[in-house]
């Protein structure tokens, strides 16, 4: 139950000379049972942190792949209540700390304090934080306070258009890591980065004390070439979900990112 574990896990990867790997998968996708197999496989394949998507009917920050996975998971019967129940009861054990990523309304309806307590009681792996994409700084106080009771991080998302004052304000409240959205857009694979990414990386780097994870649009390690410096961590979601959708294995996807070219 500790935000520090996220920071530590990313730093440990960096000490081994590599970028920390943070896969994202949607809870209950492709079906309720296979989700747990994939989670275990990602952990086995050396994920440093695993982000679990909590499905929502109206995911405005997501592109078609994650949105479709979310819709399918809801149809499968995946809910936050189900996820928390299973996280407390199942026998799988993940080494990687877990982060739950989901839109605000399901957390709000569940009850923020009750959610934090039950996430804190997870036994499959340690739930060390949350990412709530529709909760900008101005609206985040209640969620942050609830998570703090269990020492969980509310991981901020910042982007190419985030002014330095806002980055600084997020930095003052940040724990765990900070998520830099690599595109002015929704989740989903992109062929290349906009040139603005360099400025945003440098701005985030000088404002945040916690490690920097780059995400949205990442599919291949070669995409990191040409950046002014390697981020401490990378997050990949759509590309992984798409590979799973097409019958590919999570471990193969992870292996691609373990190549030396993804070195830190």
């Amino acid at each position: 139950m500790s935000a520090e574990r996220l920071t530590e896990s990313i730093k440990a990867a960096n000490r081994q000379g590599r970028v920390a790997l943070i896969p994202f998968i949607t809870a209950g996708f492709p079906d309720l049972e296979k989700f747990w197999d994939i989670l275990a496989e990602l952990d086995e394949a050396g994920a440093d942190v695993i982000e679990i998507g909590v499905p929502f009917s109206d995911p405005v920050a997501d592109g078609p792949v994650v949105a479709a996975a979310s819709q399918r998971a809801i149809a499968n019967g995946a809910t936050l209540a189900w996820l928390l129940r299973e996280l407390a009861a199942r026998k799988e054990r993940c080494k990687a700390p877990l982060v739950l990523m989901g839109y605000y309304n399901p957390f709000l309806q569940y009850g923020l304090e009750k959610f934090a307590q039950q996430a804190g009681a997870a036994r499959v792996g340690e739930v060390s934080g949350c990412i709530v994409p529709d909760l900008p700084l101005e609206e985040s106080a209640a969620m942050r306070a609830a998570l703090a009771t269990e020492n969980m991080a509310l991981i901020p998302l910042v982007g190419l258009n985030t002014p330095e004052e806002r980055m600084a304000a997020y930095a003052r409240a940040a724990s765990g890591y900070v998520y830099l959205v690599s595109v002015l857009g929704t989740t989903g694979e992109r062929a290349s980065f906009s040139p603005e990414i360099s400025t945003a990386l440098q701005m985030a780097n000088r404002n945040f004390a916690v490690p920097l994870a780059l995400g949205f649009g990442l599919a291949r390690p070669e995409q990191l070439e040409g950046l002014p410096f390697r981020p401490q961590a990378v997050v990949f979601g759509s590309a992984l979900l798409k590979q799973l959708e097409e019958g590919g294995r999570a471990a193969d996807f992870m292996a691609r990112w373990k190549q030396p070219s993804a070195g830190f």
Partner: protein, 402 residues
């Protein structure tokens, strides 16, 4: 109250990537809208392009039957056929002042899409409109009108394929195109500052109604009724009255004006989908706002339903949620069949074909006539005309179509 809140409702529940354009919009509202130049330009557009002011029309035949004077605020007579153009002209003009070159909008019935496309064409802006696939089908004439006006119409096949999903898609588009594009939001809902911006642009409806009532019958109306989808025509009608009622409450003027918003109840069968989030929903967060929502116990948003596409939304503007809580406005539920009956009554008694949305407001008056003051003055906001609804009317009221 916290900025952008109406009591506990409102807020800015959006991805950080949308905060800079929302803050930019807020700043633009502050710096441009109070200026004489902006106000004059908008006044001219509303008058000479859109056709304001709109009349307050007495319904003699219905009034005789009902035992009170029934008046219609004729937003249906505006260019493009609904109140929506009050908002789109204001936002398009603001977008020009902000240096934007394009508009993006969501639309349900297509009325807001048409009004946005027209305003964009008039002011030389590019225009993209997202519309649920189901709505593209049931409001086909409006799709054609948008295209004629030069807009790119993008059908949305995700989720429930209606207004809620069109808003999701428009928000996603705006994230990517925010530097050149203004999101011309169609109703008094969504993240701050949209509920306030749209309310202020639509308040011309209520302001004119107050002035016209005083001119025509020498006092304020007893009752004012408007339909509530996202809530823009209703808030535009009610807000100036709420301010007067607050003064009346403080003992400054006469009695209070009774304000009634009507939500769409769908078919009314037990367990049916509806659009009555104020009466049947619970507080939650969707589309950037904390408001009343139709949702399940897990916080997933439910599909909504109404015979009128323009009311078919599982949420509602946050200020209405607040007005319900404070009692400033009453909110009733009107089912499809009653709205259709009111639609028929207005066609045959007064020679006016209302939008099915507006028929929900009229239906409340016809169905509650016995409880309304005899000899009194009752105003219904006729938010739009029914030309767009011909296909639905042919299906639902074949006997009327001959």
């Amino acid at each position: 109250m916290k900025k952008g809140y109406f009591g506990q409702f409102g807020g800015q529940y959006v991805p950080e990537l949308l905060m800079p354009p929302l803050l930019e919009l807020e700043e633009a509202m502050r710096s441009f809208m109070p200026g004489e130049e902006f106000k004059k330009e908008l006044r001219v557009l509303l008058h000479s392009y859109a056709g304001r002011e709109t009349p307050l029309t007495l319904c003699p035949a219905l009034s005789a039957r009902l035992g009170f004077n029934l008046w219609l605020k004729r937003e249906d007579l505006l260019h493009t056929g609904a109140h929506k153009v009050n908002n789109t002209l204001g936002q398009a003009l603001l977008a020009k002042y902000m240096g934007k070159t394009a508009l993006v909008a969501e639309t349900g019935a297509g009325q807001h899409g048409v009004a946005t496309a027209a305003a964009a064409a008039r002011l030389g802006l590019a225009c993209t409109v997202f519309m649920g696939e189901e709505d593209v089908e049931r409001q086909a004439p409006n799709v054609q009108r948008m295209r004629l006006l030069g807009a790119r119409v993008c059908p949305v096949g995700s989720g429930s394929k209606t207004l809620k999903d069109a808003i999701n898609e428009a928000l996603r588009f705006w994230i990517a195109e925010q530097r050149t594009t203004h999101y011309c939001f169609g109703t008094a809902a969504g993240p701050h500052p949209f509920p306030t911006l749209v309310r202020d642009l639509q308040s011309v409806i209520g302001q004119e109604t107050i002035r016209q009532s005083r001119e025509i019958f020498g006092r304020l109306p007893d009752v004012v009724v408007a339909c509530v989808g996202g809530g823009s025509n209703a808030i535009g009608m009610f807000y100036p009255f709420v301010l007067l009622n607050e003064d009346a409450g403080a003992g400054k003027t006469g009695g209070k004006v009774r304000l009634v918003g009507t939500e769409a109840g769908g078919t009314g069968e037990p367990g049916c989908y509806s659009s009555a989030s104020l009466n049947l929903g619970a507080p939650g967060v969707l589309h950037g706002q904390h408001t009343m929502l139709l949702q399940d116990k897990d916080g997933q948003i439910l599909p909504s339903h109404s015979v009128s596409a323009g009311l078919d939304y599982p949420g509602v503007g946050p200020e209405h949620a607040y007005f319900k809580q404070t009692g400033a406005v009453e909110y009733a539920v009107v089912v499809d069949s009653r709205a259709l009956a009111a639609f028929a009554a207005l066609c045959r008694s007064e020679g006016i074909i209302p939008a099915l949305e507006s028929a929900h407001a009229l239906a409340w008056v016809l169905d509650n006539a016995a409880s309304l003051p005899r000899g009194g003055q009752v105003v219904v906001n006729l938010s739009g005309r029914g030309d767009k609804d011909m296909d639905i009317i042919r299906k639902c009221l074949p006997e009327l179509c001959g």
